[in-house]
């Protein structure tokens, strides 16, 4: 009787479609209701990027394979090699654009993965984003940011500080971080103007290298896990001033925002790698912290914000915990789980 109950409960609680990167297996697990599918042979999924559009999933692997997956059938519709070392993927209009470290190109494809254009940049390319019909990326070895049409026509290039390394886009503002840290570049795509600002200027010490993929952004404010410090900084993305910081119990890795903006959930490396902490955004402090697995690698809120999904790497499980009391209510076996994405 017990297995049936577990199955029913599980079917109720994993209502969302959860896509899980099985980093060590080069595969994706898709959890949907009480069913798990596995999509294999997707390449090296370390630093993989997964995005969803029009009922299809687009996945780019580190070794340059771009896969198009039907969300309903979980079948790979197409798989194409776009580079040998790839770092990012974005949608731009009805195009897909991929940034490569190697070869030194940006590749533009149709939504059906027909290659349309290969742009030779002469540089390792990073921080590929799009906003209202323009494509933006940074050229690590040329110290430039290029703005193109989605079709690949160059609109403008900006000279920036040495070695741009990562970027995020928020409300038409392209924020670029540099390998040598210390400052950020801010490209306002509405006015096509660019300036650089010392990161954390004002109140707090300069923050270390920004890795924007780990930031949580809420209405012009970024919650930044500080590398090597037991703190999450709060940065105003308009003034680029540090507004304050929140003490957290461990060395933070990812900060993720609940859909309603009430909470920022944080996981850790080192001594607290089994824990998740919840920051109340309003109160600016940790309101809960709990051991929820063994080496929690990644986490996401459910769309209603009532639960968190997390990858427990050493337990080979994806777990669902309640918000805000962080109680594990369900778990499902997934081998070597890392990145989580809410699909469907």
């Amino acid at each position: 009787m017990l297995p049936l109950i577990v199955l029913l409960v599980f079917g109720m609680v994993f209502a969302q479609q959860i896509w899980v990167v099985e980093r060590e297996r080069g595969a994706l697990a898709v959890i949907e209701g009480n069913h798990i599918s596995e999509i294999k042979d997707l390449g090296d999924l370390n630093h993989a990027t997964l995005k969803f559009k029009n009922g299809r999933a687009y996945l780019v692997s580190r070794d340059g394979y771009l896969s198009l997956i039907d969300i309903k059938t979980k079948k790979i519709l197409k798989r194409i090699k776009v580079g040998s070392s790839t770092i990012g993927l974005t949608f731009c209009g009805n195009r897909v654009a991929v940034a490569n470290y190697e070869p030194k190109t940006v590749v533009i494809l149709s939504e059906d993965l027909e290659p349309l254009r290969e742009i030779q940049t002469g540089s390792r390319n990073v921080g590929i984003k799009s906003w209202k019909g323009v494509l933006v990326f940074s050229l690590m070895d040329r110290d430039e940011v290029w703005v193109l049409t989605c079709g690949g026509r160059l609109l403008k290039r900006f000279t920036v500080s040495p070695m741009p390394f990562d970027a995020l886009i928020a409300n038409g503002r392209y924020l670029v971080g540099f390998f040598k840290g210390g400052k950020v570049g801010l490209l306002d795509l509405k006015t096509m103007s660019y300036r650089e600002i010392a990161l954390g200027s004002g109140k707090e010490a300069v923050l270390k290298v920004p890795h924007f993929g780990t930031w949580a952004v809420w209405k012009g404010k970024a919650y930044i896990p500080a590398v090597g410090e037991r703190k999450v900084y709060v940065l105003d993305l308009v003034s680029m001033k540090v507004l304050g910081s929140v003490d957290v119990p461990g060395l933070p890795v990812f900060a993720v925002l609940s859909p309603d903006g009430r909470y920022v959930a944080v996981n850790f490396s080192g001594d607290k790698e089994d824990f998740v902490a919840l920051i109340s955004r309003k109160e600016g402090r940790v309101v809960g912290s709990r051991r929820v697995g063994r080496r929690v690698i990644h986490l996401r809120f459910s769309p209603d914000g009532k639960h968190l999904y997390l990858s427990s790497y050493y337990e080979n499980k994806v777990k669902k915990v309640t918000v805000p009391d962080l109680k594990v209510v369900e778990e499902i076996p997934v081998p070597t789980p890392s990145g989580l994405f809410i699909g469907g």
């Binding site: 990167v21 980093r23 060590e24 090296d44 370390n46 630093h47 993989a48 580190r62 070392s85 790839t86 770092i87 470290y101 190697e102 390792r124 070895d141 070695m163 390998f179 290298v209 890795h211 993929g213 780990t214 590398v227 090597g228 890795v253 996981n267 490396s269 080192g270 790698e273 080496r295 690698i297 990644h298 790497y313 070597t336 890392s338 990145g339 989580l340």
Partner: protein, 256 residues
């Protein structure tokens, strides 16, 4: 006047000691040994053999090199067979060269007994070949621990196009090294392996990438061999059947 044998004891697994090293150890009157020499190796010596610890740890130089040289000279005058026993190979980052020059200058006969170096044997135990057709046709071995105030600094830029890079004693400076390599033009996606206490029963492997190590370095404890390059991926393909050691493994979690 006795004779000094500068002997490499290999990377850790006592079975990797050479037959010649084992024979010389069995005959030794005194052994001056380093930190990374295992007890299993030392236990090969005959009863009454004197064991003298002259190990150094990073930041804790218990006995300066000059003192080790002086001890070699002293023991060589009163014993017949003096073994200077070092981890790995004595002539690869072992300061064996300096001791050889010292012995020659002082007219002390000596012999070098090479040992299996950790730079290739530790990756091998982790299923990582340094060369592989189609993936790696060159490799370099470099120290990650440069002596303070040293004039000849490591030129990381010169390793931009070397397929496989093996960094010994690089744990402490791992973040800086990863940054130097990315700045030099290496692919930030380059896979990285740290193999802690390689070839011993405590071997532990941490897989990461240059980008991750440069931003949020994984926890690694010395001694560890730091390998950079596409050959690290071979570990993934062979590990399920590789029976050198059962190893505790980790991946780093700075990225998904």
């Amino acid at each position: 006047m006795g004779k000094v044998y500068i002997v490499g004891s290999g990377p850790g697994d006592p079975d990797l000691l050479t037959l010649k090293a084992a024979r010389i150890l069995r005959e030794a009157d005194v052994v001056l040994y380093d930190r990374l020499v295992s007890n299993d190796v030392l236990s090969l010596t005959k009863p009454g053999c004197l064991h003298v610890y002259v190990g150094k740890e990073d930041g804790k130089h218990t006995i300066p090199q000059e003192e080790i040289n002086r001890l070699l000279l002293y023991y060589a005058t009163i014993y017949e067979k003096v073994v200077r026993l070092k981890g790995g190979d004595p002539f690869i980052f072992g300061r064996g060269g300096e001791e050889a020059v010292f012995l020659a200058k002082n007219g002390i006969p000596f012999e070098v007994v090479p040992g299996i170096s950790s730079f290739y044997s530790v990756p091998a135990y982790a299923g990582i070949p340094l060369t592989m057709r189609g993936l790696s046709s060159s490799f370099a071995v470099v120290t990650g621990h440069e002596a303070p105030n040293k004039e000849r600094r490591v030129n990381w830029r010169s390793f931009k196009d070397v397929d496989t890079l093996v960094i010994l004693m690089g744990v402490k400076n791992r973040q800086r090294i990863a940054r130097e390599l990315i700045e030099a033009g290496r692919d930030p996606n380059d896979p990285v392996a740290f193999i802690e206490r390689g070839t011993t029963e405590d071997q532990r492997i941490v897989i990461s990438t240059l980008r991750e190590v440069s931003e949020n370095p994984p926890e690694v404890h010395p001694p560890a061999v730091f390998v950079v390059g596409k050959v690290v991926e071979i570990h993934r393909y062979v590990r399920d059947f590789l029976e050198n050691l059962i190893t505790l493994e980790g991946i780093h979690n700075a990225d998904t």
